[in-house]
Symmetry: C2
């Protein structure tokens, strides 16, 4: 089953291969030859060799997707959305994992360029000068998801507004003694913007806030939960992510506290299973999958030269559930 080439088609149809090429790419071809070529192509089920095409055109039908990790809920859902839409539009998704190393993000930008992807979707955590340099160098459209920067087209979650809205809700419910468990500031969106949204709401209501900082890992949040369970007496623990909430819940359980009886806990991000836990977790749902689809649309628009806004916000949805008590 060796590869049928354009030469074979040309020979079988009795025309020049340039004519076949023109036929395939919508050039001017007469009806008679058009028919002949079409028949031969059907019979042989010929498919053009992509390498030969890319060699000349210096382009592929691939969109590179740079993800910090493969095993995160957010990344997986986003990838689903991207892949769906891309497949519809005849493009392919090429995922590269950076294992959370900033250095590898930059490497991969260059690497994807070398592979001549048509565009790049980048699920970012932090944007540095070197990133910008790379983006500039490679001359390929880049769309950033989840972070923002003035010089890069970006699709961002409304972290501030969502956090503010959720925080305000908590204030309305009468919580005034708050513990906030956040993450390091190097992740601007989560570490800073999201936190600031919450703090704004808390401050406006004159609430008391104590801040802890941890990683994105469940395990690291468990001791914090335990500590809170043993030492602190807040009415509500607000966590920067659902993973952190999970860890805190575990820690509290270990310390013998019940939620929301003894203390309330909220998450952020909207993992599916936060709903089926008992108690179900109050959180903010971010539309990861749809964001992926939109990102795909946007990068394709950039390819065709359309102008799109530098910064686009997605939506959010409060999920008010059992894990946070209404005090009043």
């Amino acid at each position: 089953m060796k590869q049928v080439t354009i030469n074979d088609i040309a020979k079988l149809a009795g025309v020049a291969k340039s004519t076949v090429s023109r036929y395939l790419n919508g050039g001017s071809v007469g009806q008679a030859t058009r028919d002949k070529i079409e028949r031969v192509i059907q019979e042989t089920n010929y498919e053009p060799n992509q390498f030969a095409q890319s060699l000349k055109s210096k382009q592929t039908k691939m969109i590179g997707v740079i993800v910090p990790r493969l095993d995160s809920y957010a990344a997986s859902r986003t990838m689903m959305g991207i892949d769906e839409r891309l497949t519809e539009r005849g493009y392919q998704m090429l995922v590269v994992n950076t294992a959370q190393q900033t250095e590898r993000e930059i490497e991969q930008l260059y690497n994807l360029a070398k592979q001549k992807v048509a565009g790049i979707i980048w699920l970012g955590t932090t944007v540095t000068e070197r990133h910008l340099q790379a983006i500039q160098d490679i001359q390929i459209p880049v769309l950033l998801i989840g972070q923002e920067h003035g010089h890069v087209h970006s699709l961002v979650y409304p972290d501030f507004d969502a956090a503010y809205a959720l925080g305000k809700q908590f204030m309305d419910w009468g919580h005034r003694d708050i513990i906030y468990v956040g993450v390091e500031e190097y992740d601007i969106a989560v570490g800073q913007t999201r936190r600031d949204g919450f703090l704004r709401a808390f401050n406006e209501a004159g609430a008391d806030v104590k801040i802890y900082t941890t990683s994105f890992k469940i395990d690291d949040a468990i001791p914090i939960g335990m500590q809170i369970g043993h030492e602190q007496s807040a009415s509500l623990v607000v966590c920067a992510t659902d993973n952190i909430a999970l860890g805190v819940l575990k820690g509290l359980a270990n310390a013998g506290k019940t939620v929301p009886g003894d203390i309330s806990v909220s998450g952020f991000g909207g993992y599916d299973f936060t709903e089926v836990l008992h108690p179900s977790i109050t959180t903010v749902h971010l539309p990861y999958r749809r964001t992926g689809s939109r990102a795909a649309d946007m990068i394709l628009q950039l390819l065709t030269g359309e102008t799109i806004p530098m910064k686009t916000f997605t939506t959010f949805e409060l999920k008010l559930r059992e894990s946070v008590d209404i005090l009043n």
Copy 2:
């Protein structure tokens, strides 16, 4: 920043491009020319054009990975493992998603072949004649993960043994009134082998077993949990996957039952967060990530023509935790 080509290198070094090519591919080149070429390559940081290479060699440094869904814990972890090892060995992972449509698995086998991937790792759910035909047609090494078939190299989870071991443990603990919540048989490994391992253990102990069947989705298991909570009086609900266990737990909670006080529940698969839930869930841990790494190793071995066993088993580990009570 246009691409430096082998012609440029040849010209700058004052040699023929065939010589440069030989230099790059370890042919015979004299020391003097070797030095010249090396210097020029350094200066220009030349990198060969992959399309041109693939055009001739009809090969790439890519391994295709066919996954049924992007947002499953098992798939994500496995992909991580694959990617890690592949990256180490200078290969790249090309993930394609089939959205759980068997038809698309077959399509993708052909499609990956067209893209000239060096090998394919296939996270399968079911193996049909048409799959085998495709594998035969494309003439590319394929490694199947999670299912087995006599004609395909496969890396499988010890579903039977693991289920048997866990089931036996439950018997030892005195459970005799069992409800098994499984999945459809079309997934051989999970729907049949896993179930049979459990049933074997239950039957050997003369336990009473009632069987329910559901999908892989959390939501579909919730009503089953509720029904069990209302109508049934087993001591233990054994679920075929952790997702199902999650749904059942929710259903039971909705029905006002506590776990393990009123009834015990077990899962299978070993999601990370089964440990941090309250109660923590008894389950079987399958080494997804390591399996991915091994799969990568094996497919690379197949590429180099080494012979490996048609069927390789991975390990498992029982995670005995709070959600299952010890009756005696």
